[in-house]
Amino acid sequence: MPSASFKDELLAEIRNLRAFAISLSGSVTLADDLVQESLLRAWSNSEKFQPGTSLRAWLFTILRNIYYSNYRKRAREVQDSDGFYARRLTVPGDQESHLDLEDFRQALTLLPPEQREVLTLIGASGLSYEEAAVICEVGIGTIKSRLSRARSKLVELLALDEASDAPPPERKVRRAG
């Protein structure tokens, strides 16, 4: 039976776990199922967690494994009928960046999932390259090159490579292919 403190630590990670799940699957509905299943699995495998290591990284690994083994196919079906998550969540209006958040999210969905997840893990979830490499089961070199390709692709999709001197006009996401 896991300890009460393990439960509290899980509770503290739910928001981040769900944010990762939404980014990965592109659907709030799927993300919530993924989070629920991950919590169940984490609870019943709590003895496998090594204290002192990152609980966040461990949970992300569990969730990612569930996603790629059970949900990825479903995600494609659901995304089409369900609509993209950006339209289903209320977004706090604190956008300091020049980029329109809606444009950015659209561009993000056009990235291959393995690039999107690396970008999310490193650029937003606060995980290290080493942790991301363990989670994605690849080497650090691969993590770095995926990150770099993801950034270049976003720069291209969001047309950030043009007219960088001028104040940003209304931007539209370029159509992919």
Binding site: M1, A4, K7, L10, L11, I14, R15, N16, R18, A19, I22, S23, D32, D33, V35, Q36, E37, L39, L40, W43, N70, L89, T90, V91, P92, D94, Q95, E96, S97, H98, L99, L101, F104, R105, L108, L119, T120, G123, A124, S125, G139, I140, G141, K144, S145, L147, S148, R149, R151, S152, L154, V155, L158, L160, D161, S164
Partner: protein, 70 residues
């Protein structure tokens, strides 16, 4: 020529590097995107799930429940 294989993971990815300002803008947008997701209202069911697990109530798997509901 010395062709000793160096640790590639130490070197930055070889792709043509985009404008640092553009990368910075993307970094900020990514953080804004993610923090909005982290701050989004959280359904009660997760907290309830952990509470049920803690007291030992059996919990059904969401996928199976979904299938059973058709």
């Amino acid at each position: 020529m010395n062709v000793t294989r160096t640790n590639k993971s130490e070197a930055p990815a070889p792709d043509a590097a985009p404008d640092p300002k553009a990368v910075e803008a993307i970094g900020r947008a990514l953080e804004a995107h993610y923090s909005a997701l982290v701050q989004a209202p959280l359904p009660d069911k997760f907290v309830e799930l952990l509470a049920r697990l803690e007291v030992g109530t059996p919990v059904s798997d969401p996928q199976r429940r979904r299938d059973a509901l058709g």
